[in-house]
């Protein structure tokens, strides 16, 4: 199964949590070796974001993210795992699990309602 792992910030964590976080290099080596990692990127901050809509046939371009909140999406990874538990293990060893929060979203195949 493929999952989009959304890596989000979360101000609600302690200094001790941050100290417990493993390094991203360790995580990266592990997931690459296991074959579960398909791709992933870090994202520039929401101040660099552009939101696009078309309404009444008019293109609307606005500065900033699609939703304003204290948490924002800092990156993403695409994982290919046997099941949710395997994806959870990968998420749980990501440094941002300790200082942010990770959301696992299964892919929705196009041939499925």
């Amino acid at each position: 199964m493929r999952y989009l792992m959304i890596v989000a910030t979360d101000p609600d964590h302690s200094v001790e949590d941050a100290a417990r976080a493993p390094s991203i290099e360790t995580w990266s080596e592990q997931v690459t070796a296991s074959g579960a990692w398909v791709m992933g990127e870090r994202l520039r901050p929401t101040s660099d974001a552009t939101t696009v809509r078309v309404r009444n046939g008019e293109l609307l371009i606005t500065d900033g993210p699609f939703t304003e909140s204290k948490e924002w999406i800092a990156g993403f990874d695409i994982l290919d795992c046997a099941d949710l538990d395997a994806a959870i293990e990968i998420a749980a060893s990501h440094p941002m699990a300790f200082t942010g929060r990770l959301e696992l979203r299964p892919f929705w195949p196009f041939d499925e309602n």
């Binding site: 099941d83 949710l84 538990d85 395997a86 959870i88 293990e89 299964p106």
Partner: protein, 419 residues
């Protein structure tokens, strides 16, 4: 089901079917879910097999091994349905290989506790990625085998609502990729804990409902059956044994908790002769087994220790309140909760007198609807009747069920007669 066959239905046949379903239903459902990943199909096939039994057994006679007959019939039904769906041959072979041999239906491959599909099913139903209400409902439906209507009634929602809840939960399992497997060893304790939490919640809803009828024995009894099953699958897990002990010890008072008039009775007021000695003995044995694992006391065993002190007190006066307070101290240290702090204050009231209990209550316990009832009782016992009456009024206003309100009102009336 099978009303047409009813006239020919003998008691022996009905007993044989019930026994076979009790022993094999869960195993058949769990096996079929593992292989087909189709929860509805698995349940439907067992239902279908039971209906066929009702139709066939009156003429064919009860088979030598009813459980094996059910397993085979359910498996054939699954094969038929899947063939019609053009499922690939490999999967069909896997299902064919599923059924235990006719000779020993109760002993399939015996792959040890962690190889048991029933355990896999429990882990899937109680996965922390599922909403809690969905976990409870799905466990009752698939593991305990209750009908959607029964579960809806137990949780005071419509059958349509419960049906939706079950569907959403099964859909999340499928779509999010929740596997049908035993968790990794380093996650096992947490995940067993998640299963225990569902059973504990189920029991509490039956033992002291938050709304509607206060006591719902059928839920409590279902929770005990699930705890029994889990204890049979994981016989060395101290918290599984601890929870089982706790539930048995609490439920042993079931027959004594309500007066003939239908009023809830406190433990002091209960006729201890009505306490179920067999359940107490089974609970104490389970607790002893939990202790003998040598593991540090967990959340459920700590509560079972307290329940055991109540269950073994011949009279209210003989209750060992000193050890009960120590038990609550340990429980608070393990997992702080307002309800535990409140029970501890009440226990101190019995150990050191009501004024000490009131002092413990004032020492900082988060407000909850249960606080005024405990406060009222402590005031009453220390002779501060006016304050007790005010607290009973507040407790009555905040009680969630009629049974609690009547109990509190009765206490208030007694107080008015006294003063």
């Amino acid at each position: 089901m099978g009303e047409a066959a009813a006239p020919a239905l003998t008691a022996a046949l009905s007993t044989a079917l019930t026994e076979a379903l009790t022993s094999e239903r869960l195993r058949i459902v769990a096996n079929l879910i593992r292989v087909t990943r189709d929860w509805e199909l698995a349940e439907d096939c067992v239902q279908d097999a039971a209906e066929r039994a009702l139709a066939r057994w009156p003429t064919d006679g009860i088979p030598d091994n009813p459980a094996a007959w059910l397993t085979t019939t359910a498996r054939r039904r699954a094969l038929d349905v899947l063939r019609r769906r053009h499922v690939e041959a490999e999967k069909l072979h896997e299902i064919e290989a599923l059924a235990p041999s006719q000779a020993s239906p109760a002993e399939p491959e015996d792959p040890g506790p962690y190889g048991d599909d029933r355990l896999r099913l429990l882990f899937a139903c109680c996965h922390p990625a599922l909403p809690l209400a969905g976990r409870v409902a799905l466990t009752l439906k698939t593991v305990a085998g209750l009908s959607t209507r029964e579960i809806a009634r137990a949780f005071l929602v419509s059958e349509a609502t419960m049906s939706q809840r079950l569907l959403r939960t099964r859909t999340k399992i499928e779509h999010s990729g929740i596997g049908f497997r035993i968790p990794e060893p380093h996650r096992l304790r947490d995940r067993v804990g998640a299963v225990l939490a569902v059973i504990y919640l189920l029991f509490n809803e039956g033992y002291a409902a938050t709304e509607g009828p206060y006591l719902r024995d059928e839920l409590a009894e279902e929770a005990i059956r699930l705890a029994d099953l889990l204890a049979s699958l994981l016989p060395d897990d101290d918290e599984v044994l601890g929870l089982r002990a706790l539930l048995l010890l609490q439920h042993s008072r079931s027959a004594a908790r309500m007066s003939v008039a239908g009023d809830l009775l406190t433990m002091e007021e209960q006729d201890r002769g009505l306490w179920d000695r067999e359940q107490i003995a089974a609970g104490l044995a389970s607790l002893a087994a939990a202790r003998s694992t040598g593991r540090p006391q967990g959340f459920y065993r700590l509560q079972a220790e307290i329940a055991a002190l109540h269950a073994t007190a011949a009279t209210p006066e003989a209750t060992d309140w000193a050890r009960i307070v120590v038990g609550y101290d340990a429980l608070l240290e393990h997992r702080a909760s307002p309800v535990v702090a409140l029970n501890r204050a009440a226990a101190i009231g019995f150990r050191d007198g009501p004024e000490a209990g009131l002092a413990a209550l004032d020492a900082g316990i988060a407000d909850s609807p249960l606080v005024p009832a405990v406060r009222a009782d402590l005031f009453r016992r220390s002779g501060r009747f006016a304050e007790a009456a005010a607290a009973y009024h507040e407790a009555i206003a905040r009680a969630g069920t009629d049974a609690e309100r009547r109990q509190l009102q009765r206490r208030l009336d007694e107080l008015t007669n006294l003063s």
